[in-house]
């Protein structure tokens, strides 16, 4: 096998037993692991090979004698084997099978090339009425909250610096691998207005003002979410948080929300970001991840719906219920 793989393009290490294999994997992370399936215990061997930390992303190619029963093949697949070869095999076949993971690697590299492929071509968020009217929607809710007048203009307030207080809320459209981020940035007069009007305490500490700004970001997220619902788009909302810098390098839409005359101005920024969902085991679930698909019981009963944002409670519950061999597609925590 070693001779069949060209030296110029392949770095091959050959070992004769499991112990040496595990040691070799631990020394240097392989991209492809080719192993002979023993008469008994093939799936367990595959699991042990996979279990080494360096082997987490390796492509497992199992070599079999003859055609084992379908049950064994599916056990091997469940154990993490990606592909099979039967003895006797030709060098050409070996080369072709080893090329597969190379193609996958090239594919993932081409995905990161700008404009290579547009996997989110499904949904053009910027064309949604909810998005186009976002400034007005948020302004209306703010006005409701504080019983004041809020005027909206397109464009980011020029006087807002990077150091201005900023709160962000991320909203996920997991099935389309999109994340929407809304940020609210306050100028000093708006920060004072927040203290005076919302907190009713002109001396309220910064922490309280930031908390209130986060709640305003939450309100903005809620306004977008409800408006998107009217266009049959369901967004998953995250927990609002502070941003250390009011910086928006990518493509974004912005509005200026001017509070009752003299009460300052809030910048509202909407960013649409693409992300790649991850495929992870139920054990790796954690707070903030968003499910990209429904989870159903064997009988087809819906346990958790697609788009659900996990809390620590639900992540632990699902991990315990589904176990480490259940794989799910999730949008990463924002």
């Amino acid at each position: 096998m070693v001779r069949a793989l060209p030296q110029e393009s392949h770095q091959v290490e050959a070992v004769g037993d499991e112990g040496s294999a595990l040691a070799a994997i631990a020394r240097k992370a392989p991209q492809v692991i080719i192993f002979s399936v023993p008469a008994k215990g093939g799936p367990d061997l595959a699991r042990r090979l996979r279990g080494v930390e360096n082997a987490a992303d390796a492509y497992l190619l199992a070599v079999l004698d003859g055609t084992p029963p379908a049950k064994e093949l599916s056990s091997l697949i469940s154990a993490g084997v990606h592909d099979f070869m039967r003895r006797p095999f030709s060098n050409v076949e070996l080369l072709e099978r080893v090329k597969a993971p190379e193609r996958l690697l090239r594919w993932s590299r081409s995905l990161s090339k700008p404009g290579a492929f547009d996997f989110s071509g499904a949904l053009d968020v910027a064309s949604l009425r909810a998005w186009r009217n976002l400034g007005r929607l948020v302004a209306d809710d703010l006005a409701e909250m504080a019983t004041c007048l809020v005027t909206v203009t397109q464009g980011y307030p020029a006087h807002l610096g990077v150091e201005a207080p900023c709160a962000t809320i991320a909203m996920s459209l997991a099935s389309d691998q999109l994340e929407l981020r809304l940020s609210l940035v306050a100028d000093p007069a708006a920060a004072a207005w927040i203290r005076q009007t919302l907190l009713r305490d002109p001396e309220a500490p910064d922490s309280a003002m930031h908390d209130a700004l986060r709640e305003l970001a939450n309100t903005a997220g809620g306004a977008l979410k409800r408006a998107a619902l009217a266009e049959t788009i369901i967004l998953s909302t995250g927990i609002p948080r502070d941003e250390s810098a009011a910086r928006f390098p990518g493509k974004h839409d912005c509005w200026s929300l001017d509070l009752s005359p003299g009460s300052g101005c809030l910048g509202l920024v909407g960013e649409i970001r693409k992300h790649h969902n991850e495929r992870i085991s139920a054990e790796q679930l954690s707070e903030g991840m968003v499910l990209a698909h429904d989870i159903r019981s064997e009988g087809g009963v819906l346990i958790v719906a697609a788009g659900s944002r996990l809390t620590a409670t639900s992540a632990n519950r699902l991990a315990a219920m589904l176990g480490p061999r259940y794989f799910l597609e999730v949008a990463p925590a924002a």
Partner: protein, 123 residues
């Protein structure tokens, strides 16, 4: 005459707003920052007459809290106070026994009226 209410929300501003709205007519308001905190405090506070609860919170959200309270056999009425408006969520809360759904930003008079209906003072 008073009645004890718990407000559960990770936002201090919202907790303040709810407290301000309910203190005026005479309610005694306790606060919790999320579902986990609420369960700990509810175990210690007697005689809770009403819970006003956000949906999206870290650690344990409002729906999960409703499930827990049900499992414990709690009879305290729960009203959700949230930016969410998704019908499926509203139905889920209702099926878990929630008594109401108020969308933030809320009108204080609606909250007071809801409290008066579900946890009348002096009852």
């Amino acid at each position: 005459m008073t009645a004890r209410v718990m407000v559960i929300d990770d936002s201090m501003l919202v907790r303040r707003q709810v407290t301000a709205a309910l203190k005026t007519p005479g309610y005694l308001v306790s606060e919790a920052i999320d579902g986990v905190d609420a369960l700990e405090k509810l175990a210690e506070l007697a005689d809770m007459k009403l819970i006003v609860c956000d949906v999206n919170m870290p650690r344990m959200n409002g729906i999960e809290l409703l499930e827990r309270l049900n499992a414990q056999g709690s009879s305290v009425p729960v009203v959700m106070l949230t930016t969410e408006g998704q019908p499926e969520l509203i139905h889920r809360a209702r099926s878990l026994g929630a008594k109401g759904w108020i969308v933030k930003p809320f009108k204080p008079e609606f909250l007071v009226a809801t409290a008066a209906k579900l946890a009348p003072l002096g009852a």
